[in-house]
């Protein structure tokens, strides 16, 4: 018991735990659509694309989350713009923006004096550095994103499963697609502090992919995914505390372990 309670005597651990559980659940829920709509590459790109925004905010001593948010929304809408008329394929557009944004981000960060430490915090997260105001921002944004996903459950289901039905029912499919990209971008921004840019993509895909193996309907898939995301965050953070591993890595590796267990279980059941 003491083993579980001891880390919680530190306030930074309490905040870190709360932040990573929220982020774990949020990523896992949004990840359901990432997995089902085949947007894994997009999630990855989005995570890296916010790097320049973060770097600029850092240099200007502004709020990192705000910088990341602006960059993410800009990238999401640019991808939409490039691919709207079908001139550039979506994955090509993503590939170009992904590489450009990552390079720009690293270029900006390399001008800083504390280059290595800053970069590692941005890339891998610094969940133990979450402040009370960060926590409010994470909580508020997450609430907003999850509320939108809950309210638009049916339209998102229809545009993802059967775009033709969406058209016959006169859903504003184009608007909903862009909205989903923006929500995804915001999710990546929120995860920035806890798991970092490069691992946010994993948290978007791994818990949802695990839940896909275990469930047969969308809502249960979302709930199971959220549970796995939260559990991975808690377990990962304890591992990080006791073994002194970077928290983001520990969280993602825990989620990966759950995926492997689910995959193995499914294989055994089939056999």
């Amino acid at each position: 018991m003491n083993f579980l309670l001891e880390p919680l005597t530190y306030e930074f651990m309490q905040r870190g735990l709360l932040a990573s559980v929220i982020v774990g659940m949020l990523c896992a829920v949004m990840g359901t659509y990432v997995v089902l709509r085949g947007m894994a590459f997009l999630g990855d790109a989005m995570a890296h694309a916010i790097l320049p925004g973060v770097a600029i905010a850092y240099i200007l001593k502004g709020d990192l989350l705000v910088g990341a948010g602006i960059a993410a929304v800009a990238v999401a809408l640019t991808i939409g713009l490039f691919t709207k008329e079908g001139e550039v394929k979506e994955d090509t557009a993503i590939g170009i923006l992904f590489a450009a944004a990552l390079s720009l981000g690293v270029a900006l960060i390399s001008t800083m004096q504390t280059y290595a430490v800053d970069l590692s915090h941005i890339l891998f997260g610094n969940v133990l550095g979450v402040s009370v105001s960060d926590l409010w921002l994470i909580g508020g944004l997450s609430f907003f994103i999850l509320l939108t996903v809950a309210l638009l459950y049916k339209p998102f289901l229809v545009i993802s499963f059967d775009p033709v039905l969406a058209a016959t029912l006169r859903l504003p499919a184009e608007f909903l697609r862009n909205l989903m990209l923006v929500l995804l971008a915001l999710t990546v921004v929120v995860s920035l502090q806890s798991v970092g840019v490069s691992l946010a993509a994993a948290m978007l895909v791994t818990p949802a992919a695990t839940a896909y193996l275990l469930t047969r309907r969308l809502l249960p898939m979302m709930l199971v995914s959220a549970g796995i995301g939260a559990l991975s965050s808690v377990v990962g953070l304890y591992i990080s505390y006791y073994y002194n591993i970077v928290s983001g890595s520990a969280i993602v590796l825990t989620a990966t372990l759950f995926f492997l267990l689910a995959f193995g279980w499914k294989r055994l059941r089939k056999a």
């Binding site: 289901l157 059967d162 775009p163 033709v164 058209a167 016959t168 896909y212 969308l218």
Partner: protein, 267 residues
């Protein structure tokens, strides 16, 4: 012409992709409750017409009126049974979920299904003979069963116009029979059904009207009016063989490849 309002009034429409026009200047009127077969050679624009009628493709020219109002005014009166490749079969939904989607518009996007919605879903499933499969994943069903699930969804939608793109191609006899029975049932309920098919015998025997297409309207009327040597020659060209005893053979089969290239629908 009859005095009852036309359910569907197509006025001088041209449809295509980008600058390319596939169907030129099409005009026809369908009275309510008729069964219309859309026939024509591969790549004649049958799927293109359907896409325009459901609102997936913008019209380059002309207009479509339903009950005298512009297409899209009524949000749920057109139902469409998609071709197989337009659906993601690995999506985590049950047959029941799929059919319930047909009710979304009427129940309201923010509301939960009512008892009436559930009743509609289960009666549609029963009508298509797949009530026992309701809780299965859609991906586990056979091709024919999947099609019946989508037909059940179309019924649950309570449309005034039902569009079916090649529902008789590549399905088992049970599904073909269920689809034909549904057509008769729809006619009793005065629902207009517009169905594309390669089966000219079926078009001639089970439908009230036939729409013969080849990039333009070649003929529209009762099967006897439409299936004349001249009309078929215009539509099918070299694929038509006229025998001495008056029998006509049309050398047409297989998936309409050309149209499928345009079928990619972005999610």
């Amino acid at each position: 012409m009859s005095h009852t309002p036309h359910r569907l009034d197509v006025q001088n429409i041209s449809i295509g992709y980008g600058p390319k026009t596939i169907l030129h200047d099409l005009s026809f009127q369908v009275p309510h409750g008729t069964r219309v077969a859309v026939v024509g050679p591969n790549g004649a624009g049958k799927s293109t017409l359907f896409k325009a009628l459901v609102g997936l493709l913008p019209l380059q020219h002309g207009r479509v009126l339903i009950h005298g109002e512009i297409l899209g005014t009524h949000k749920d009166c057109v139902a469409y049974v998609p071709q197989r490749e337009e659906v993601d079969w690995r999506f985590p939904v049950t047959v029941d979920d799929v059919v319930m989607m047909g009710r979304f518009s009427q129940m309201g996007w923010l509301k939960n299904p009512t008892a009436h919605d559930r009743q509609m879903v289960s009666s549609s499933l029963t009508q298509m003979g797949i009530a026992d499969l309701a809780s299965r994943s859609i991906g586990q069903l056979s091709g024919g069963q999947q099609q019946r699930a989508f037909l059940a969804r179309a019924i649950a939608q309570e449309p005034h116009i039902l569009l079916m793109d090649e529902p008789f191609t590549g399905v088992d006899i049970t599904t073909q029979e269920a689809t034909l029975r549904l057509l008769d049932h729809l006619q009793e309920k005065e629902v207009t059904a517009i169905v594309s098919t390669h089966d000219l015998n079926l078009a001639g025997s089970r439908f009230d009207l036939v729409l013969l297409l080849n990039h333009r309207l070649i003929a529209f009327g009762t099967p006897t009016e439409v299936f004349t040597k001249d009309n078929l020659a215009q539509a099918f060209g070299n694929s038509l063989l006229v025998m001495e005893n008056g029998m006509m053979l049309v050398d047409e089969c297989c998936p309409p490849e050309e149209e499928h290239h345009h079928n990619e629908v972005r999610k």
